[in-house]
């Protein structure tokens, strides 16, 4: 154990490292936000979808680094995020040094059970502070705490707090300094002889760890954590390590305890004794409001009705309310493009880079903000008031079979509006595996950017021939394709790829609470900030790269050659003729750009789906965003880039398009099977640079590009099957 002077030095340098531990739903995050304000760094722990949150706090003139560890019911880690908390406490090299002060956040109204992690961490011998959060709720239940007695028995500062209202924050900071200066540590519980013996056996294998407290902590974790293989920490060969752990666990069993459950079974009586007399529960605990609300909100009929209404509201909000804001951002982008285009006249390359690359890219980032903010706000409201857990409870059955839980419902549903806010909304899923699966499944839901493609194809080929009923059914089918493909894949993914057993699914139903404006606005600020700095920069970079691939090479003589061969129809006025020539020129430049060449070269790959090279080029060019396919088709068909899905000109042009070469020469390119194949391709593929960027930011670039490749392959397969089967049936 380090002596007093070194701790004092740490305080003086502002390098005091403080961690927050505690069970889920104890209000840890609110406390973290209050203690650090906006000075936060949020990222992921290396290689996993577990959020890493660090911030700088200040107590008087002392600065400290605060780390918000993932919530853990017990340090007996059953999931990846819990394991990270344990490794952070033990000072694992990937995560950071052993903390100087541990702040254990407990729910005052659930004091007995939320003290478990504190007593498990006691072996570390580090200074500790107990934050009795939701203190107001415990008092409202009629509970009376003898705080001085509790402090005396535990030997550490005990601070009542109400994190979401900012009460007790000053006292908490002071307590952190006091615990650090006076080295106030929770007295480690006395184990029965069999457990003591087992811990000693493992300690001898960990004697390379100099700090004896850390050594004892690690030995205890090795002994009790039967779900996590951490034997690599031990000295000796793999067989020796395994035998050492087995021998220690047998020793515990001889004492009459199961290693996996010995800790809670032995610690709860200790905790009960500590609390006896210090906590008086007078009167009948009244949870009447929550119970009454649950009778309605969890009711099989009334509950589902409220759920359906709320979900419809959330979906409408993301789908419709964001619309005007997004249009505003789009027209602002267009105005900026026009202004910049005017200023940069005469420098065609720079002009195009700024207008079509940078400004278009920035606009492409900003356009997601309305949806992100609206969905984040609504999900945060539902989560903070306690309803989100009830919603997960109601629909758990629908998603449980494929290895997900009810918690994946809201993100997947939001995917129908846009995958970007949906992927962000997965942050409410604690289990990292379920979260990753949901992140990868959300982009398969048919987002609003796919709609223009459906409208164009259905409007041009299906509605005129088969009527509006069939058209509506096809549109519905395109929207059902997402879950039909995604859920079996999620099942396969959970079973075959993420083989580690799922942590036990216990859905805690917290009491209903009133959300606070400050917590909500904090969350909005952090999400927006995170999106702009992480995903936004990647989206911008991709936008510029795609621009370059579409712009270069750009031989100036092409224009001269084309103009020489261009004959103006006699009945056309000069202005119209120049416009027609420009459209012709744009199409020619696109065709010989790097991406255009790649499209021609790759056409054979898409031939089994009935795509000609023009569709293939449009498909490649629409990588940054699928809706771009329509304006690209407009350019290729020499109609200019302003075409939209409802444009009659584009529809007519598509119907007239004929194969110019190959076995199908002279036949129309677009038939019903081809139109259907195009829709299926766009329904399944991940033609969305923002989604790739978002998955990179939330999981890793490996998952992002892996998902992109898998979805593209799946989309190709779907398109080929659609074309071939429909072709046979119709032909």
């Amino acid at each position: 154990m380090s002596a007093d002077p070194s701790a004092a030095a740490a305080v003086a340098e502002g390098a005091l490292r403080v961690v927050l531990i505690g069970q889920p739903n104890t209000g840890k995050t609110s406390l973290f936000n209050r203690l650090t304000g906006l000075r936060q760094r949020v990222g992921n722990y290396p290689g996993v979808t577990v959020e890493r949150k660090e911030g700088i706090g200040r107590a008087g003139d002392v600065a400290f680094t605060l780390v918000d560890l993932p919530g853990t019911y017990s340090l007996n880690a059953l999931s990846m995020d819990e394991h990270i908390s344990v490794r952070a406490l033990a000072g694992h090299p990937d995560i950071g040094p052993v903390p100087d002060v541990i702040v254990c956040v407990v729910d005052a109204a659930k004091l007995q059970r939320s003290l478990l992690p504190a007593f498990q961490a006691a072996a570390l011998g580090r200074p500790m502070v107990l934050a009795l959060n939701f203190f107001d709720e415990a008092e409202a239940l009629g509970w009376r705490f003898d705080l001085p007695l509790l402090e005396e028995r535990l030997g550490i500062p005990v601070v009542p707090t109400v994190g979401h209202r900012g009460e007790g924050i000053g006292a908490l900071k002071e307590a952190v300094l006091r615990a650090s200066r006076q080295r106030m540590a929770l007295t480690a519980p006395e184990w029965p002889p069999a457990v003591q013996e087992a811990v000693r056996m493992l300690e001898t294998r960990l004697d390379y760890i100099e700090d004896t407290d850390v050594r004892r902590f690690r030995a205890q974790r090795l002994l009790f954590d039967t779900a996590i293989r951490a034997e690599d920490d031990l000295a000796g060969s793999p067989t020796q390590r395994h035998e050492a752990v087995e021998a220690a666990r047998s020793c515990v069993m001889r004492g009459g305890y199961a290693p996996a459950t010995a800790e809670p079974v032995l610690l709860f009586p200790v905790i009960e004794r500590m609390l006896a007399g210090a906590l008086e529960k007078s009167g009948t605990a009244s949870r009447r409001v929550t119970e009454g609300l649950d009778q309605v909100l969890l009711h099989p009929v009334a509950g589902l009705l409220v759920f359906a209404l709320l979900m419809f509201g959330v979906f409408q909000a993301v789908y419709s309310w964001a619309g005007p804001l997004m249009e505003g951002i789009e027209s602002l982008t267009a105005a900026l493009q026009e202004a910049a285009g005017g200023v940069l006249e005469g420098m065609p390359v720079v002009q195009s880079l700024v207008v079509d690359g940078v400004i278009a890219g920035l606009g492409g980032v900003a356009v997601f903000l309305p949806q992100i903010l609206i969905l984040t706000l609504l999900v945060a409201l539902l989560e903070d008031c306690g309803y989100l857990a009830r919603a997960a409870f109601l629909v758990d059955k629908a998603l449980g079979w494929c290895g997900l839980s009810g918690k994946s419902f809201v993100p997947l549903m939001s995917g129908y509006a846009c995958a970007i806010p949906a992927i962000m909304a997965t942050r409410t899923i604690e289990d990292p595996k379920a979260r990753l699966t949901t992140i990868l499944a959300a982009p398969l839901m048919s987002c609003s950017a796919r709609l223009p493609v459906y409208v164009l194809m259905i409007g041009a080929f299906i509605e005129p021939r088969h009527g509006s009923t069939v058209a509506a059914l096809v549109l519905l089918a395109m929207h059902l394709l997402g879950p039909v493909v995604a859920l079996p894949l999620a099942w396969l993914f959970q079973k075959r790829i993420l083989k580690a057993p799922a942590p036990p699914f216990v859905l805690e139903l917290p009491p209903y609470r009133r959300p606070t404006l400050r917590d909500l606005s904090w969350r909005l600020w952090h999400r927006a900030h995170r999106f702009l700095t992480d995903a936004g920069t990647i989206i911008l970079a991709m936008s510029v790269v795609i621009w370059a691939l579409l712009y270069f090479p750009r031989p100036a003589q092409l224009e001269d050659t084309l103009r020489a061969a261009w004959s103006v129809p006699a009945d056309m006025d000069p202005e119209e003729a120049e416009e027609a020539f420009q459209a012709h020129l744009d199409s020619a430049y696109l065709e010989q750009s790097y991406l255009g060449r790649a499209g021609r070269w790759m056409q054979p790959v898409f031939d089994p789906a009935g795509f000609d090279w023009k569709i293939t080029v449009a498909l490649l060019a629409s990588f940054p965003a699928r809706e771009v396919v329509i304006s690209t088709l407009g350019i290729i068909y020499q109609l200019g880039g302003g075409e939209d899905e409802a444009s009659e000109g584009l529809r007519r042009r598509l119907r007239q398009e004929l194969w110019t070469e190959g076995p199908r020469a002279g036949h129309p390119v677009f038939t019903v099977p081809v139109a259907a194949a195009v829709m299926v391709f766009f329904a399944i593929c991940m033609q969305c640079g923002a989604t790739v960027a978002m998955i990179t930011a939330e999981a890793s670039w490996r998952w992002a590009w892996g998902a992109f490749a898998a979805m593209t392959a799946l989309a190709w397969l779907g398109a080929v099957l659609t074309y071939q089967i429909l072709g046979r049936v119709a032909g």
Binding site: D294, P300, L304, L509
Partner: protein, 78 residues
């Protein structure tokens, strides 16, 4: 006689007699404060045979049927 809590009707309560085995679910429930001797109440069930709400002394949780069945209770007489 102790029965799995899933045998109780909505609104019935009992005394927790024991937890079945030492599975991950049992470890989690112990950590959430479900210990023998405590009062537990079976509450609402989600539609389509979904999870069951269990009201314990220090936690209110939703448990899937097979998971809830590890909680053995002595039924309280009404």
């Amino acid at each position: 006689m102790a029965v799995p809590i899933t045998e109780l009707k909505c609104g019935e309560s009992g005394t927790l007699a024991g937890l079945d085995g030492d599975s991950a679910m049992v470890q989690r429930l112990l950590a959430m404060g479900f210990h023998p001797g405590q009062r537990v109440e079976r509450r609402e069930r989600a539609p389509f045979a979904g999870p069951v709400k269990v009201d314990g002394v220090s936690a209110v949780v939703g448990l899937r049927e097979q998971d809830a069945a590890v909680l053995d209770v002595e039924r309280h007489e009404r």
